[in-house]
Amino acid sequence: MLEVSHVSKSFFGFAALSGVSLRVAPGSFHALVGPNGAGKTTLFNVIVGRYRPDAGEVVLAGRRITGLPTARVVRLGLGISFQRAQAFLSMSVLENVVLAVLAQQGRTHDGVRELAGYEDARAAARELLGWVGLAAAADAPTASLPLGDLKRVDIAMALAGRPQMLLLDEPLAGLSRAERREMVRFIEELLRGLGLTLLFTEHDTEAVLRLADRVTVLHQGQVLSEGTPDAIKRDARVVEAFLGE
């Protein structure tokens, strides 16, 4: 589904990524882990087109997306949800998702018809909000939501284009223990149910072991190890890298 090959990226002489390759199989949940500064965020930003890599390729569903702007990448079927839950705070929950739906369909150039009159997009948005369990909060102002709900809105927006694949950057960051468990179950049920491919980063080891089919460990801008969660747990190099942090 997603193939990253030999990607390198330096900032002012510092090699944030050197020769990173990664293959995410269709339908799998793939975790990207590593200590702070390992290059996870840089790799994310390369995949979503925020950074152009110095070398290497990114291929999504057979299509080369290296260096394409984020808005293009998203419309080619990659849903993105950021670490800090982000929404458009001047709008209601429903308006956020309706706008995301219309943006995905390339219908946001309209300057005449009222957004509130787009029945089809509103129905699609309500369905998405149902998926993330926020149907009842549709008319609430986004600014009033707790963080956990904001993350769900963010995921609903990421799913607005009915992508084949989702990118989640630390979906559990900032949540309490109870909220974390709930979010893991939610992600698992929803995305498995939709048959989506998932690439995510996460610091919470427990959550990674629970969710991921495959794990790639980044260390100092390079792939240290790759395998099933069980294999990774036993990998001496990984243990050393994490404990040596």
């Binding site: 001047s90 709008m91 150039h109």
Partner: protein, 302 residues
């Protein structure tokens, strides 16, 4: 329903005004309408995208000079120059916006200011074409538009059209896309919106509306002067928008009426208008940050 009743009453009052006001007061009312259109145009970009343009005088003056030059050099009838003035202002906004909307916040403000001052400098010095600092004077908008009442109604119609235009954009997906980019550019890109195109389109439309205001100014003064392009003209739109309330649809228009009427009143009595204006602005910023529209609790638009 109540809001609609008030709106109809306001409309009736605006329509009756030319028959109630003496000549000088009507002239002031026209000036207020022109500034209202100009400030509404400026505020469209400011409120929807969060970008504060300090260069809208270029579009106001660009529209005015297009009208003045076409009348003086090509003998066009006044009204026919309207599409040309709007188009010229839009093209100018497209060009300036192309270089400016990529930058953000203070850089956008300074860049638009610099470009507008550049346009002003060209008009100010190009005696052979624009008349330089003498401006273009002695224009005759014809018997009809030379009449204050007719000009008032023309200004009222253009203002109403401009306001309707801004109102529609605000409620349409395009307006939501602009506010999404304002609220959170990174998230906007991640739902598939590329900011540049939207911001440039908004800036261009806003410039076009400002050009229509400049077109009206020519008939009101029967002249065009480089002052129309000077940065203080941009400041008038900013002051009017902040005075009335940038977050309210009617805010900039309300601020324009207060700015022009209060200015005329104070200037007829003292020479300390800038001092009075400064005190009014100070009081507003300190006690009424939502602008005069905040008095009615009118945070919502339309």
């Amino acid at each position: 329903m109540k809001a609609r009743g008030w709106l109809l009453l306001l409309l009736a009052a605006l329509l009756a005004l030319p028959w109630l006001l003496p000549g000088y007061a009507l002239e002031v009312a026209i000036q207020a309408l022109i500034l209202a259109l100009f400030a509404t145009a400026f505020n469209f970009v400011f409120a929807e995208t969060g970008l504060l343009s300090f260069g809208h005088a270029a579009f106001f003056g660009g529209g005015a000079y297009t009208t003045a030059l076409l009348m003086q050099r090509a003998g066009w009838p006044y009204l026919l120059t309207l599409p040309a003035a709007v188009l010229a202002a839009a093209l100018l906004a497209l060009a300036i916006g192309f270089f400016s909307v990529r930058t953000s916040r203070i850089y956008f403000t300074m860049l638009t200011l610099a470009f507008a001052q550049l346009v002003w400098a060209v008009v100010h010095k190009w005696y052979d074409f624009t008349g330089g600092d003498n401006g273009i004077t002695g224009l005759h908008p014809g018997a009809l538009w030379g009449d204050a009442r007719a000009l008032y109604y023309l200004a009222l119609v253009l203002f109403a059209l401009g306001l309707t235009f801004v109102w529609r954009l605000h409620h349409a997906p395009f307006g939501y896309a602009l506010r999404a980019i304002r609220d959170n550019p990174a998230r906007a890109e991640a739902v598939g919106l590329s900011p540049f195109g939207y911001l440039l389109a908004a800036f261009t439309l806003s410039g076009a509306l400002a050009g229509a205001a400049g077109f009206l100014q020519v008939a009101w003064q029967r002249s065009a002067f480089p002052d129309f392009l000077y940065w203080t003209k941009s400041a008038e739109a900013i002051i009017a928008a902040i005075l009335g309330g940038a977050q309210a649809l009617f805010g900039p228009a309300l601020g324009s009426v207060v700015f022009v009427e209060l200015g005329a009143f104070v200037q007829s009595r003292t020479e300390y208008w800038p001092l009075v204006l400064g005190l009014v602005l100070l009081a507003l910023v300190l006690f009424l940050p939502q602008g005069l529209a905040g008095l009615g609790g009118g945070r919502a638009r339309g």
